[in-house]
Symmetry: C2
Subunit: 254 residues, 2 copies
DNA sequence: TATATTTGTGTATTGAGTACACATTAAAGA
DNA sequence: TCTTTAATGTGTACTCAATACACAAATATA
């Protein structure tokens, strides 16, 4: 993994070592690397998945880690996360949301790295998706046990954020094909929330959002009564990408 | 301001400059400084205030900025924010909440600094509060115009977060004296939310939270009918400090 | 044509959010 | 001490969202 190579290279760099030892110099304050980690969620087989890569750090041999990289000196923090996403998946028309910054001293075994976590939702079956390495794999979030670094905690934090946001914004639109049944949408919500939902109440709630349009088409290849297909309104999807104002708290007493 | 001195010192450091120029070296990735900025809120004269310091950067002469500092190589990110708070105010028993990390390339004129913002609520009139410098002043949030760096945006982001959280958690407890009237509490909420509230509905809503105990004492020194005094339950206050689980989103259909 | 499986729909209940008005209390001043 | 002033303290009606829950209609398959 790129970031790990670099860190290894740096911590063995005599210039840096001497700088770190030279306590009276203010240079020591630059001896912290800044990185981004992307929690890229997908959805397959009725499970929420996350894209992980085999760690190539000795300390974490056999473990997986998130996709991340050091931020370049002339690169905005947000831009770094888009670059990682683009480089790793070929996707660049997806929203990325900053979640939290992790900065424990010992979170990285090879040196001090402060990392900002972003999450994103991508279509595992998109034709645009282009996984660039055999080391990359989709893992069911539920089945994740031990990961490199503090990446398990990062994923947990992002899942929490994701759960908070899916009822407010139609961000899940690219976890499904363009046309989908309400059942498929409900299964997706259940997978993300990790809890079963009542069908009638779920439909009522979704209808209230007016995110969807009902099509004049039916599911095919199902062994039972087919459901009507739906798709997201382009308007709703756009607003989910740009809308950052969470003023749902303004449900205050007036 | 400490952070600004250091950054000035570093960007004039020939060692660093050569490292930044040496593009083939991975050392360049350490040429990003990591800092924290604390948005320390207070409450006085029925206004939400924030603690600012006069900037000593030439570029920002005459402007105020937030309290911040570079993170030390052996210091957790969260610990750095507590250190800044403690050094600047003498307070160390206050919660600090991470809000967002700001990482635009050009946000700092003297060099690349990625900064994580935290917010905190402190009692302006606490006897423990010990403002260590004459350059430090409380400013009404509403009246803030131009600040150094992107600090105005940082404050806006933190105010947004604060507004979201005050109805979920009793975090405002140290913006008021131990004993206070419901009117005083309401004025505080109005100041934070920037909107008037209905008295009866506010009381109903607060009562529902069971954060308060009603005392057998009345306000004094008021020129009208005195209200009953209240205080926060210690239990409620403790949970506001530790509680990080925002599962209010679990109001999902079951 | 019977069976299995899923779709599609509605109502009753509860609780929160909101709008809104009047009697009570204490202090201050005439 | 009586009147004025300015705030406290309280309850009801309406709307809307959240929830629990059941049955008829549609399709595929055997």
């Amino acid at each position: 993994m790129y970031i790990e190579h670099i860190v290894k290279a740096m911590t063995s760099n005599p210039l840096l070592k001497s700088a770190a030892v030279e306590k009276s110099s203010h240079l020591e304050y630059f001896n912290i690397a800044v990185s981004v980690d992307c929690v890229i969620f997908g959805y397959e087989d009725k499970e929420l998945k996350v894209l992980l890569i085999q760690s190539d750090l000795e300390e974490f041999s056999g473990l997986y880690s998130l996709l991340g990289d050091l931020v370049k000196p002339d690169e905005d923090l947000d831009a770094a996360s888009y670059r990682v996403l683009k480089d790793r998946t070929g996707l660049d028309d997806v929203f990325l949301q900053q979640v939290h910054t992790f900065g424990s001293v010992n979170r990285h075994p090879s040196g001090r790295v402060v990392s900002t976590a972003y999450y994103s939702l991508v279509d595992i079956n998109s034709h645009k998706l282009n996984i660039d390495s055999n080391d990359l794999h989709w893992h069911a979030v539920k089945g994740i046990k031990k990961l490199a670094f503090d990446h398990k905690q990062i994923i947990e934090t992002c899942v929490k954020m994701l759960r908070e946001q899916i009822m407010e914004h139609p961000i899940v639109h690219n976890l499904l094909p363009e046309k989908f049944s309400l059942r498929a949408l409900q299964e997706l919500y259940e997978a993300i929330l990790g809890t079963p939902l009542d069908r009638r109440n779920f439909r009522k709630k979704i209808a209230l959002k007016s995110w969807l349009v009902e099509l004049d088409e039916l599911e095919e290849d199902v062994t039972h009564r087919p459901g009507k297909l739906h798709k997201f309104k382009t308007k709703a999807v756009k607003s989910s990408v740009s809308k950052k104002d969470k003023n749902f708290f303004l449900t205050m007493c007036t």
